[in-house]
């Protein structure tokens, strides 16, 4: 019963989508909760490629199914039709998602299409995301939104406002971190209560590591969250093998070099959960 939005508040590439995929998968596997990952992108197949490999077209003509021009009945496109006709319910949102792990992890894919009509459709459809998020929140235990940069400013603000927790992804650059910290202090778009600043593509073996950034730059006690760069994750997101990867990660021991990555996502989940509990106690959600 919580909406968590992954948002890149800077201009740097910090692997926001990959981080949201890793977080959603780990939470769905480790905890017995229903998670929905919403993609807000246009023509970004990162999420799709992480979970499924596109089947190659069979060369033998009679068995191929030439349905490229068929209307899309899944994802945002199908759901949009239901929304436009005022027939949308939390269960209807469920019907248009793709199942990754039954009763654990589902995905609402974004739009695909390069033509001008699709661009226009995307501009109109993206306004429906806040409504979809709220509806999905009634059905799923956790709704994770991967907020795309192409989303219009007004819609982006609405999504951020409707989110219970905003995971603000930043790069390891001092200036970027300071910029986001200032934004949190302004208490306008982001605020201390519901923002979890997280460094994406994190590297520990530098002077600008999480401990030093927290101590010297942010002047805080709790060490800033990180999502370390992981080679295996990078490979799995391109080969549709995220689930296999995480089933292997379950068996990891502390000595393994990938354990740090899993541990950091666990820490991120614990921090988010803590913030949600405080918000629930204060009856803000």
């Amino acid at each position: 019963m919580s909406i968590i939005t992954f948002w890149n508040g800077t201009e740097d590439e910090v692997g926001t989508t990959t981080s949201s995929i890793a977080f959603a998968t780990q939470v769905a596997i480790e905890h017995n909760i229903r998670v929905l990952l919403i993609s807000t992108s246009l023509n970004d197949s990162t999420i799709k490629d992480s979970f499924w490999q596109e089947s190659k077209k069979k060369s033998f003509g009679i068995f191929t199914d030439n349905r490229s021009k068929m209307i899309e009945n899944n994802g945002l496109e199908g759901l949009d039709r239901v929304i436009r006709s005022n027939k949308v319910t939390p269960e209807a949102v469920r019907d248009y998602t793709k199942i990754v792990l039954k009763n654990r992890l589902e995905i609402l894919l974004g739009l695909e299409g390069t033509d001008e009509a699709m661009q226009k459709q995307y501009m109109i459809m993206q306004e429906k995301y806040p409504q979809i998020m709220e509806l999905a929140d009634h059905y799923y235990d956790m709704v994770i939104v991967d907020l795309d940069k192409k989303i219009k400013n007004a819609t982006r603000l609405e999504i951020l406002k409707k989110s219970h927790i905003v995971v603000t992804m930043v790069s390891q650059k001092a200036k970027s971190i300071q910029k986001i910290n200032e934004l949190i202090k302004q208490n306008d778009i982001l605020n201390e209560e519901n923002t979890v600043m997280t460094i994406g593509k994190y590297m520990d073996n530098t002077r600008y590591n999480a401990k030093n950034i927290t101590r010297n730059l942010l002047k805080k006690r709790d060490i800033i969250n990180t999502i370390p760069y992981n080679n295996l994750l990078f490979e799995a997101t391109q080969e549709g093998k995220i689930i296999d990867l995480y089933f292997n990660f379950i068996r990891l021991r502390e000595k393994d070099e990938n354990y740090y990555f899993v541990k950091e996502i666990k820490r991120l989940y614990a921090n988010i959960k803590g913030k949600i509990e405080i918000l629930q106690m204060e009856r803000k959600i």
């Binding site: 068995f63 039709r81 006709s85």
Partner: protein
């Protein structure tokens, strides 16, 4: 085994492979016609209605058990199919949301599957050549544009703006009456000088297809408006009808009715407003 036996086996196998090939191919074509033969008639309203009927039929009658879905996916696909079936049923009873859903689906079918574009949409309704537009086309365009702006107050707004609710005399009638004539619709259309985008044009075509396929024909949009009632063809005969019958011999009159040369009771729609 002799050579003739080997040749015979090969011929039989070759024929069997051909039969299987054509059987699978014909089955595939029967399910979804992906390649269309585009000709002059392809983008006319009649052909589009046929296409929409066929596709909706295919979508609602597809056997989900044949696709090999998982249990959960089957449940969801069934739920979506049921939703569409419910909407197709509900829209015939005048449910506005069901109508919207069916229209949205028709819109997507025409735009994404049938290939309706800015270039060919005028074959359905001649948007590019106003002189070829019928008064029904003009009314449909006007009511669509007004609906975009005023919602379900569109008709009332149009009547109010152009004072269409005034008592007036029309040709061939001795008594004044409340009537909206074709000429008035033509005048309003000229006055409004509407500019339509492709989405507007397609929405108008979709409405026309919907009202002929599932809706209430010419009153389909009118009955959704904020009015007190609508009636057609049941409120008696126009005065001119009776006088014309008296003047013409009956056989001739029937042929004139068939050719829509004379006004019939069912040619008019009565819209009721309660003040």
């Amino acid at each position: 085994m002799t050579i003739s036996n080997v040749i015979l086996i090969m011929v039989v196998m070759w024929i069997a492979a051909l039969i299987i090939y054509f059987h699978i191919k014909s089955k595939k074509n029967a399910e979804v016609i992906t390649k269309m033969d585009v000709d002059d008639q392809t983008y006319t309203l009649g052909q589009m209605i046929e296409f929409v009927k066929r596709r909706l039929d295919e979508i609602t009658k597809i056997n989900l058990y044949d696709i090999g879905l998982s249990e959960e996916e089957l449940k969801r696909r069934k739920s979506k199919k049921y939703e569409l079936k419910k909407a197709l049923k509900g829209c015939t009873y005048g449910d506005v949301n069901d109508k919207k859903y069916v229209k949205e689906l028709i819109y997507d079918l025409l735009a994404k599957e049938y290939g309706v574009t800015e270039m060919n949409i005028s074959k359905a309704i001649p948007f590019d050549i106003p002189s070829l537009l019928t008064s029904q086309d003009k009314f449909d365009i006007l009511i669509y544009m007004y609906k975009k702006e005023f919602g379900y107050e569109a008709l009332s707004e149009m009547i109010r703006k152009y004072k269409l609710d005034e008592f007036k005399y029309i040709q061939g009638e001795t008594k004044p009456c409340y009537v909206i004539t074709e000429d008035e619709i033509n005048d309003i259309f000229e006055e409004e000088n509407v500019e339509l985008t492709f989405a507007d044009k397609l929405n108008i075509v979709v409405q026309r297809i919907y009202q002929q396929y599932k809706g209430y024909s010419s009153i389909d949009e009118i009955r959704d408006m904020n009015i007190d009632g609508v009636s057609g063809g049941v409120s008696g005969l126009p005065e001119s009808f009776i006088s014309q019958v008296a003047q013409t011999d009956s056989a001739d009159y029937l042929s004139q009715i068939e050719e829509h040369k004379v006004q019939r009771a069912c040619d008019s729609i009565w819209i009721m407003f309660h003040r």
